[in-house]
Amino acid sequence: MNSISRRKFLKISGATIGAAVLSGSMSSFVKGADNKINKKDIKGIQKIPTYCAMCFWRCGAIAHVKDGKLWKIEGNPDDPLSKGRLCPRGTGGVGTHYDPDRLRSPLIRKNIRGEEQWVEVTWNEALDYVAKRMIDIKKTYGPESMAMFHHGIGATFLEHMMKSYGAINFGAPSFAQCKGPRDVAFNLTFGETVGGPERTDIENAKCIVLIGSHIGENMHNTQVQEFSKAVANRASIIVVDPRFSVAASKAKYYLPIKPGTDIALLLAWMNVIVNEKLYDNEYINKYGFGFEQFAAQLTSYTPEWAYPETGIEPDVIRKTAREMARYKPATLVHPGRHSTWYGDDTQRSRALALLNALLGSWGRKGGLYQPTWLDIPAYPYPDYPKSNKKKLDNPDEKYPFAIEEITTGVREATITGKPYPIKGWFVYGTNLPYSLPQPDKTIEAIKNLEFLVVVDTIGSEIAGWADVVLPESVYLERYDELNNPSFKVPYVGIRQPVVDPPGDQKPNYWIAKKLATRLGLDKYFPWKDIEEYLDYRLQKVGLSLELMKEKGIFLAPEQPIYYEDGVKPYFGTPSGKIEFYSLQLEQKGFDPVPKYTKPEEPPAGYFRLIYGRAPVHTFSRTQTNRILDDMMDTNKVWINKDVADHYGIRNGSFIKLKNQDGVISNKVKAFVTERIRTDCVYMVHGFGHTSKMLKGTYMKGADDSRLITQVKTDPIMGGTGMRVNFVTFELEA
């Protein structure tokens, strides 16, 4: 096999495709007036491929429509991510179409922002109003004063519209509130981010180390599928978690670590591996930079040193370190995903990266493979207008290594008005009072705005604060941008409408194009409709929309993804090698090799609040999906049994949580269990809704975001560490 440079894109020629194309029959659907799908006239079962939007993994799905009515959704067997099996949210996606709490028509607020008093208006009225306000802001302050918060592929065309308008301040919570520390750390170490889908070769790993990753409850489909394969193959699983997660129940070694001390454990592991010379010597000689200086820094981090910090016995530390080394390079120390925990998160992720580097798993089978993708040229647009203002999310590059926008920085600027005011927010697909910590700050920022427009499918809390709410159709009712992620195999998948929206909801691209016209930006939206856009791009790789609507997924020829198979190692770091010792960090005044900081102790009678995911929900967006609500209609607060007994808290009883700043949560059921340490309590994120428009879930459970009034900001990239709040119990009288 020829070695293919990671940077060379695979161009698929029309000839290659011609051989692979199956006889594409015209998909049989009738376009009624207003682009309605109008499948009601078709009897029997139709199977229409699309890709899922219940989370951000984007598995290929096939929706089944029976006699014109949406019946069920299954995975697309051709889809490399799901392999024909969706996760419970994807399977329950039917519930988003039938959700009775869906926004039906555009809304303009009647009275005071936040009081949830609305006037239903037509799309023309709403869009005219939005355009007018945006033009006002542009005239008065400049387009830079209109910021956009977004999450998900559905933001593509709206982001494009905003950029065409001249906006420069954007932010997705997925960086500073989620993957940021990890991606920056791996970028500093290997010269590349981890990516999403993560480049984890779980199914081939012989040893898997999970630091807090609760795979199985965190339901990223491919990861869970591969994890179960690894379990069946008797992979050695090491789980480090203050809570006995589902993954912990399948582990060979479960390490009940004290929260906040992971770096100590990682350093001690590296100490053992270096001292006992268990590392991949050849790999490090070839690809490593600064190994000696790195090794020298580890000498004091013995397992005996780590024991009082972490609570993990020295012999367990040694045993697990040796276990990891035993299976290298097919040992995967999972990089994690949501990594904004304690404020030193980039350094912790750096330690994770270094541990992988020691074991030689980067680029190797069973470790972190080299992803490939099907490159599809972007649609040719005119250049966006240039601004002479700078982005204000990270003024003076206070966080020197941030590689994406810092959402909380944009929020801060909105509050302070410095370096220049932000007067408008355009929000797509992210419920800011839940996705950003310190929701009071979010409200404070909103109060400084002259205009807030929210595009959402349900009346979320952020929609409740908006001046204009634009109801989007759900993924089953619309097209969207092509999905061609970097993964183990190169492919492209399409989204297409399966059923008509039940009300006056519109897709994101329609909204973007209509707004663009009103903003005088038609030259940035030259395509007539979304079908033309998609077909144009697909034609560039020898495909067509017609073909894709039939198949849903096109798989390009497989590419090598491991060094073993000829992938040429390349590291985008200053040294061109894996940086065991980071001069970059040192030059900016940070530790070149991670150091351990002792976490704060909770006040007496308080417990650290940690949070996580449930496999049947996605953040705060799925609770009104009646199928998923039926699976789990509330979260519970996990309390260690001995602690609960001490406080007289019975399993299933309602309590409230009060945090260190006196904020009190909604009442929530206690889950009294052995499955958690005595010094922390745990909740699934996304419940405790206060928006009255969310009738199916109003006030069920408690909202962890409300209790996150303190954050510890990572100095390297601006991520907001959120597991730094402590709560005590307020029992019902």
């Binding site: 419970p88 069946a232 589902v246 496999p615 199928i627 052995e674």
Partner: protein
């Protein structure tokens, strides 16, 4: 002819409830009701814990008390596969079957008749798998003919350790949990 059963690998199951959701959409199970459900069975004291995760449903017992006690014959065994089925038009809703079942597998459907998992008979009578089997992302649920020694389920029972739910009730359940 044939004896349908399930073999479920608890070591791979993560309790994600995909099986429950797929069953719901496949069979239009009414809101608020479960034909299938997840059990997390935990023993020990932190941190020395063991957890078994089970996807449970009607066990389609070989000696089903629900079939024996039904006064109208609505609860019966199918010809294909010995699946325990309920004929909606013969059920009077007396609930004897619900009381008879040691597994809490049955419930009263809002339309008035007794209901439960039927091994997706509309699929399995045609040689396909139940919806839960085909959706499970961890491939934990296996379905097939227990009378066929070459079926996947039979082979798994020959090679792996397993248990059934409440064997002492004498119902001879046909769902086997691999441990």
């Amino acid at each position: 002819m044939a004896k349908f059963g399930m073999v479920i690998d608890t070591t791979k199951c993560v309790g994600c409830m995909d099986c429950v959701v797929a069953c719901k959409t496949e069979n239009n199970v009414p809101e608020g009701f479960n034909r299938a459900w997840i059990v997390e069975d935990v023993m020990g004291k932190y941190p020395d814990l063991h957890m078994e995760i089970r996807s449970e449903r009607c066990n389609h017992c070989e000696e089903a008390p629900c079939v024996d006690v039904c006064p109208t014959g609505a609860s019966h065994y199918s010809d294909i596969g010995e699946v325990v089925l309920i004929d909606h038009d013969e059920c009077i809703g007396c609930k004897a079957c619900i009381a008879a079942c040691p597994y809490d597998a049955r419930f009263i459907h809002p339309d008035g008749y007794a209901d439960k998992c039927d091994f997706c008979f509309h699929r399995t009578s045609k040689g396909n798998n139940p919806a839960c089997v085909d959706v499970c992302p961890t491939h934990s649920i296996h379905f097939g003919d227990l009378d066929d020694p070459d079926s996947e389920v039979s082979k798994l029972l020959k090679s792996r350790k397993y248990h059934v739910r409440i064997p002492e009730a004498g119902t001879k359940p046909k769902i086997f949990y691999l441990t």
